[in-house]
């Protein structure tokens, strides 16, 4: 068996390693930001599917944006009354599937997906899933070959764009000939892809939407993914430009279908895109949760938002406890009740510091006067504390009403004070007053309020509280520090002061 000092060293070391390790993992692997104040852009894509249902079972399949390390899906949800929804993966393609046993008339399904671009470099390096093959009838192929003759055979971005420009030039006989049967945007893009493939480019048609803020009723747009050198670029065959990866959201790649409706007809899909600014950490949390990372899936982030806020408050309490430990065991300040200052500090979080201090002094001061009268009534202990409690509540009401009448809303915040704790505090201080005199009461009161104020300053600091909320595993580090202080056997500051007469005489 190890000695207890050794055990403490090991335990503290372990807590530090696990705490910092988990935090580092979340930062480096899951992309959690260092600061909670960092913001980033999240794109919200809203799809609106409209179709006429036949009188039978209906199945709707929509190709969803892929979730990968380049683009992280933050959340996805839908509104489709009467439909059963599931997300499936078929041949490596993520699909949303809505099914209903029976649907009649015009049906509307809304889907919503939020995503952000984590790493566009990575997207550019991914290989094409299904490059195009040349599929032209012989006559057209001959026309295409003669069309391509004048082109530079070097494969680069400039030459590829030159081809697109030529293809879009109006009044060119050769182009008109080629486009005879390719009038729709989709067909034109496909032809551009075919021609580029003939030149030797590796090309894949993709469909998606442009990411424009507040763009309503967008329809699906055709793009080409073209490999140039070792990089993949996204080209717009109509505007002859290269589109940056984070300007478009791709839904459908290669030959995947975008929207399939079985048991219905006349289906259309339109999209709306919105730009949303949000804290960087919430995207990281949502993305990790979406990917069902166990570290996130079983953390407080998996709780409903309102419960998370409760925990946000609970998570800062250890900081208050640390302040108490430091002030009591390293400094040697006397407080009334070990963790009462932490509770007071929690109250200050609701009332703000100055208002809180004022209300505390008023309630305890008036309570002490009331208690000193009660002590002359010769009551039993528990009824006496209970009457102090009742008095404290009456005092709360009085402060609340009076301050409101005088036009000061701050007084209402008195209700945040834990009244039972406060009643006990009044009782103890009153006894201490009788036993040891007013000086000791003042010392303890001042010690408690100092501790509470310092704890408040730490707990109310948004940098600190956000960091703890982002990296709750740092509480293990905090635990390590507290355990380490627990085994500290050196002098407290108060010892140094207390034994000072020894040095002087």
């Amino acid at each position: 068996m190890l000695s207890s000092a050794r055990q403490i060293q090991l335990l503290v070391g372990l807590l530090f390693v696990v705490g910092f390790g988990a935090a580092a993992y979340k930062h480096f692997a899951l992309g959690f930001p260092l600061l909670a104040s960092e913001t980033e852009t999240v794109w919200q894509l809203e799809g609106r599917i409209v179709f006429e249902a036949g009188d039978g079972p209906v199945e709707v399949r929509l190709n969803l944006p892929d979730d990968n390390s380049a683009r992280r899906i933050v959340s996805s949800d839908y509104i489709a009354p009467g439909f059963h929804y599931e997300e499936i993966v078929e041949d490596g393609v993520a699909l949303g599937r809505w099914t209903a046993q029976e649907a009649v008339g015009t049906q509307i399904i809304y889907m919503r997906s939020q995503s952000y671009f984590a790493d566009t470099e990575e997207e550019a390096e991914k290989p094409l899933r299904a490059p195009m093959k040349v599929k032209l009838d012989p006559a057209l192929k001959a026309t295409a070959e003669s069309f391509l003759q004048g082109f530079d055979k070097t494969l680069d971005e400039k030459n590829a764009l030159k081809l697109l420009r030529r293809l879009n030039r109006r009044g060119d006989d050769q182009v008109d000939l080629l486009l005879r049967n390719y009038s729709s945007p989709l067909k034109r893009t496909q032809l551009a892809g075919q021609l580029m493939t003939m030149l030797g480019y590796s090309v894949q048609p993709v469909r998606g939407v442009f990411l424009d803020d507040k763009a309503r009723s967008q329809s699906i747009y055709n793009f080409l993914e073209v490999v140039v050198g070792d990089q993949k670029v996204l080209m717009d065959a109509r505007e002859n430009v290269v589109i940056p990866w984070d300007r478009a959201l791709l839904l459908q790649k290669g030959t995947e279908p975008l929207l399939e409706v079985f048991g219905g007809s006349n289906s259309r899909i339109t999209f709306a895109t919105t730009k949303v600014q949000r804290a960087a950490f919430s995207s990281a949390i949502a993305a990790a949760g979406h990917a069902q990372n166990p570290l996130i899936d079983f953390s407080i982030y998996s709780l409903p938002l309102s419960d998370q806020n409760t925990f946000k408050l609970l998570l800062v309490m250890p900081l208050g406890a640390l302040v108490v430990v430091i002030l009591r065991n390293l400094v040697g300040i006397r407080t009334s009740g070990t963790f009462m200052p932490v509770l007071i500090a929690l109250t200050f979080l609701q009332t703000s510091l100055l208002v809180g201090l004022m209300l505390f002094v008023i309630v305890v001061g008036v309570g002490l006067i009331m208690r000193s009268y009660l002590s002359s009534l010769n009551l039993l202990l528990v009824p006496r504390i209970a009457s102090v409690l009742v008095f404290v509540i009456i005092l709360y009401a009085a402060i609340g009403v009076l301050s409101t009448k005088m036009g000061w809303q701050g007084g209402l915040k008195v209700t945040y004070f834990p009244m039972i704790i406060l009643s006990w505090t009044i009782e103890r201080m009153s006894v201490l007053w009788d036993e040891a005199g007013g000086r000791d009461v003042m010392v303890e009161c001042a010690g408690s309020l100092l501790t509470a104020s310092l704890a408040y300053l730490l707990m109310s600091n948004t940098f600190v509280s956000d960091t703890v909320f982002l990296y709750p595993e740092l509480l293990l580090v905090l635990l390590g520090v507290i355990i380490a202080i627990g085994s500290y056997s050196g002098f407290r500051l108060s010892d140094l002061r207390r034994f000072a007469p020894l040095e002087r005489h």
Binding site: E435, S489, F491, L496, F499, P501
Partner: protein, 319 residues
């Protein structure tokens, strides 16, 4: 560095370490936590249990006149107390001298405190009621009130104590009495021998029982603040008996780090007043010495010696 600390009115840690001073954390971690098993605390925290244990070990204690256990007993107090002129009422589980009421006389219907203040019977009953409700016990646990005979202390303390019983505090480490002081009540301390409340602490030479130096509120003083008597002339009588009684406190409590409080009765000699599992550190200021060298000496001594042998070891070493 040391001037930095003295500027702040503090001693430098280096000096205190050289002196062998035990600080709060060191006491709690190294001495109390290691030597005082938790389950034995009730034996010393509950003075009633301590009294029973002392009786078992045949150790002299102030006589217990009665115990008030339930609120119903309070109505019988008047009749019960009428037979005694002087007595002390204390909570069995009080700490730090809280809740101790000393009655040293009567004035008609009234009881008199040592400072001459009158106490009505109703006030006394309320005090007992508070004790039973647990006002003075740790965590507000319901308690019982002990009624003890008041000590008639010896003339040797004449002029050294003001209106109260002076007691002798001995730190007993693993059964060895290592450091001692006497606590003299003052007008500040309301007749109580509690240093927090302003009693004077006088360091006692462990070998002879003679006064070394004195402090009040942790500051050195020469004369008793109320009587003006030079404190350096104090000498505790029956010193060997006091040491032996303190050493036997270890057998009673089984606590390795113990404060034994002893009073000297005129007729009965040294009596064990109470035991303390968390003795304070002010004794080091009163002695002008740190505890560490003495505790280290005890750590090197063999265990399982008899109380007399342990006292002899200590006397031998410091002579």
């Amino acid at each position: 560095m040391s001037s930095f600390f003295s500027m702040l009115g503090m001693a430098s840690p280096k000096f205190l370490r050289a002196k062998g001073i035990v600080g709060m954390n060191l006491r709690n971690v190294n001495y109390i936590a290691r030597n005082n098993p938790r389950h034995l605390y009730p034996n010393v925290d509950d003075k009633y249990k301590t009294k029973l244990l002392c009786a078992k070990h045949d150790i002299a204690v102030p006589e217990l006149l009665g115990v008030c256990r339930v609120q119903g007993h309070i109505s019988e107090l008047k009749e019960f107390l009428s037979q005694y002129r002087c007595f002390v009422i204390k909570p069995a589980q009080g700490s730090g001298g809280k809740g101790i009421l000393v009655i040293s006389g009567r004035d008609g219907e009234y009881y008199l405190k040592p400072n001459g203040k009158r106490v009505t019977h109703d006030e006394l009953c309320r005090h007992v009621s508070n004790i039973l409700s647990g006002l003075f016990s740790l965590g507000g646990k319901p308690d019982v009130a002990l009624i003890e005979d008041q000590i008639k202390f010896t003339d040797d303390f004449e002029g050294f104590s003001y209106e109260g019983v002076p007691d002798i505090r001995v730190i007993v480490y693993k059964g060895f009495p290592v450091m001692a002081m006497t606590r003299l009540s003052t007008s500040n301390s309301d007749g109580k021998a509690n240093l927090h409340q302003g009693a004077v602490g006088v360091g006692i030479d462990i070998t002879t029982g003679e006064a070394l130096r004195a402090v009040q509120f942790d500051r050195p003083i020469e004369l008793h603040p109320d009587t003006g008597k030079p404190l350096s002339t104090l000498k505790i009588p029956y010193w060997q008996d006091v040491m032996l009684l303190a050493a036997r406190g270890y057998e009673v409590s089984q606590m390795g780090y113990l404060g034994v409080d002893i009073v000297l009765d005129e007729q009965r000699g040294p009596l064990l007043l109470e035991l303390n599992a968390r003795p304070g550190l002010a004794i080091q200021i009163a002695n002008g010495e740190g505890l560490v060298p003495r505790l280290n000496f005890v750590d090197k001594c063999p265990q399982n010696l008899s109380p007399q042998e342990r006292v002899d070891r200590i006397l031998e070493y410091w002579n």
